[in-house]
Amino acid sequence: METKTNVHAEEGKQEILITRVFDLPVELLFKAYMVPEIVEQWMGTKVLKLENYAHGGYQFETTDPRGHVHRFSGVVHEFCLNQKITRTFEMENTAFPVQLEFLEFEKLTETTSKLTMHIVFKSIASRNQLLQMPFAMGINLAHNRLQAFFTN
């Protein structure tokens, strides 16, 4: 399967870089981050608050298959239309420390664009913990079992 998203996580650093090229004009890509109804669709979350300006904040809420409610939120530090968003991100009521996200939106051509998500963590350990979240969330239970099989 073709995949267009890259994750760069250098050993021994407390940051990650996620890049993705979209088959969309940059204005449309940016809109997907601005309009609550659209954010809800692709993030699979409820948007409780989305303030698109510096010193504004956002809050999302998801309900997992077991019915547990999780909230995610942060504050906006910079908001430049079609260019960048700098914000914090936090999983409420968890031990995960807050993280800092730099989102950059770039026009490549009239119909393509690139998103660079630079995430800075409190520590290397908290970065690695987050990278392993998709396991914890049960998205890839099978992967775990397979890895266990090959390492045991």
Partner: protein, 107 residues
Amino acid sequence: MNLRRDVFQAIADPTRRAILMLVASQAMTAGAIAANFDTARPTVSKHLQILTECELLSQHQNGREIYYHLNPQKMKEIADFIEPFRHFWDDRFNKLEAIMKTYQANQ
């Protein structure tokens, strides 16, 4: 999206994981693989087809027999602990792209 070609979907099934374990030690024919399971032969064939489609297994003709081999490169890819994380974001961004294309078309 064709889920069958999704490698993580492929290894989510216990029978398919068992097949990968079997073939990891040596290349085997479909018949020899099926002999290890109580499931019907066509069911095993279906599993082999899915594993081949997502490149976890490759087929090699040897005389009249077709042998299934494990593709170590693909296995390494999924054993990389960043891969599920990348996969998670890739799924999300694919969704974003699809939604915005529909949005664009409706303008």
